[in-house]
Symmetry: C2
Subunit: 205 residues, 2 copies
């Protein structure tokens, strides 16, 4: 039996805010950003519209907070995992490939991919959102810079920015394709492409 928890006001508020962020992510993914209604987000969190507008100024702000909440955690998780897998070139590539396939399956991740793509499109039309999203996707601090481009590989012959952009394109593009037609695009394909991209260069010892 769970003890009926006594929660202070602040705790309650924080808990509700989190519930709203998670509900919003789910509903945004399910219905689309424009198609999602504040009422449904609130209901999904077991609250009402009042709670939403008490915690966020507008739908737009809610969206930005969801994005920050999720994308931040994501980047951190990825960097962590890759940093802990040793720095050997091939091992790194394999680990990244495995990581990708793993995530792209989780039911939770599906919603995430969907929301990310939708968010990018939305950002394209909204300068304020765009700026924030670009900062999240391309962190300027050395922080989020994942350690791909293993030395000696073809990818490594490129400036970091270029290798990064290529990997991110492939990442997001393949997520979208997996979402659209999993039967045509199995998750293992990412690792395959990665191996091609990071293959040792014949003409470059």
């Amino acid at each position: 039996m769970a003890v009926a928890e006594r929660l202070t006001r602040q705790e309650q508020r924080e808990r509700n805010r989190l519930k709203l962020l998670e509900a919003a992510e789910k509903v945004f993914a399910e219905r689309g950003i424009q198609g999602a209604s504040i009422d449904e987000v609130a209901a999904e969190a077991g609250l009402t519209k009042g709670a939403v507008y008490s915690n966020f100024a507008s739908k737009e702000e809610l969206l930005i907070e969801v994005m920050r909440h999720r994308l931040g955690g994501e980047a951190r998780a990825q960097a962590d995992r890759l940093l802990h897998s040793g720095r050997d070139s091939e091992a790194l590539v394999e680990e990244f490939g495995r990581y990708w396939a793993e995530r792209v399956r989780g039911g939770d991740q599906e919603a995430f991919a969907q929301m990310t793509v939708e968010l990018m499109i939305h950002a394209t039309r909204n300068p304020a959102v765009r700026e924030q999203l670009v900062d999240l996707v391309f962190p300027t601090a050395g922080e989020g810079r994942h350690p791909l481009s293993p030395p000696g590989s073809a990818l490594a012959g490129l400036p970091y920015e270029q290798a990064d952009a290529i990997l991110k394109s492939l990442d997001i593009g393949m997520r979208l394709l997996v979402l659209l037609a999993p039967e045509r695009c199995p998750p293992e394909l990412f690792a395959t492409a990665l191996r091609l991209l990071a293959a040792p260069r014949p003409d470059h010892p």
Copy 2:
């Protein structure tokens, strides 16, 4: 002075249908699929809602027709261009890279990329649309199969389906990234990635 053209009913109708399809593509891209209103589409075409519902059963059908109209033409154009560029491996890769960078710039293409991505997301949530879109993106007939995977390259070592899916992922992903942050992802990057993917394999004569 243009002669005031006498148009037969059928001609007029066809002309209006086309105007609507083009207007719809533009408005869908600008506002998003859910955000676009039938009224705005009609206005963009210089017509009214009546014309839309006279030519298409619903917003959904309009969407599908736009998709068929545009995606069909696109695939044809691409196949044409690549077929006419000779079959030499490197030349093919370079031509594809050039083609990509060219298109991604055209103001028209921006709307197209935006709509395509949005369409994919939309399809993810709508089985009927999904099926049709998958057929357009992965044509089963030998028709749309573009002739990439030049022999001798690493890509060519893969089954056609896999190479195709990888290229399409990179294509759509990079289009999205260019849209979001052109300063981080110049159009030339596609050719760069392509060269890496199609590089001759060191261990495979």
